[in-house]
Amino acid sequence: MIKRLVSIIILAVVITSLFMVLSETAPFGDDETVVSHRYIYKGVDETGSANLVTAVVLNYRGFDTLGEVTVLFVAATGVGAALYTRKHPVRKNKVEASLIVKTGSKLLFPMMLLFGAYIFVHGHLTPGGGFQGGAVIATAFVFKYISDTRYSIDHVGFTKMESASGMIFAGLGIMGLLLGGYFLLNILPNGTPGELISAGILPIIYIAIGIKVGAELTGIIDRMMGVEA
């Protein structure tokens, strides 16, 4: 009990101060944009992306995103390293899924893939983007795993896809450096904001990210499915 009491006191200190500081100095809903001012007012012209979040994520702060992709990549690799077993994992769940799940997943699987692709292809226009789209794609494969006890992804193909898409992102960055002198420089024309083919390299990056994230998350799930606990 003392433990809980102490932890509550500590938390009270930390959280109260955090809350007080926030409500004093940055009242909720207050206009405090400094740097973002430019993003908001010039973002569309400068990047050609209607979705300002995408403009920030992929263009102004594209380097963060490259890092983010790397983080996921590292984690996927790490999961693989942590769960490594000498012989290739064999899935253990022998419980057959019900007919509804089986049929439903067969029906939904292509649609989910398509929806995922839609999300990352339209990342510069609508809410969402590569990460979200990738997650949706991974969900589609989860469906597969649930419905079919013997299903397993094509590991080699997924690895190739994952690597290729990662290299596209990093390669675009290096290309920008070689062609324009700046890493991750937008080397393609911006086009008309609001159209599908616009915003320069942004859609390419988001497609790459989408494939990569989808492959990686699926890979992680595949790894975890195969573990004997």
């Binding site: 809903g29 994520v57 992709v69 999961v79 769960l83």
Partner: protein, 112 residues
Amino acid sequence: MMFYFASAALIAIGIYMLMVKKNLIKMILGLSVIDSGVNLLLISIGYINGKTAPIIQPGVSPSNVVDPLPQALVLTNIVIGVSVTALALSVVIRVYKHYKTLNSSEVRDLKW
């Protein structure tokens, strides 16, 4: 204001889980909860009263959108959170395999 409160509460709950719960999976969940709290905090900081999502399209003028930067940061942080959780869970699987327990105070071969 609600959101500040909620995010502070989420962070507090997460830390409380870390400090009190002995189950490793609950501790990892705690980390996830903290992450959500931080994400909410970031989003709330970027929120501006009465404005809409930062997607410029017909009917939305630049003077009428919220700060996009914190949202971009949140996007990054979500991915980081996912990565950490995935990795932590897979490590916990291995820990359980070796220790046959998830109690954090029994997983202490390394000490002193």
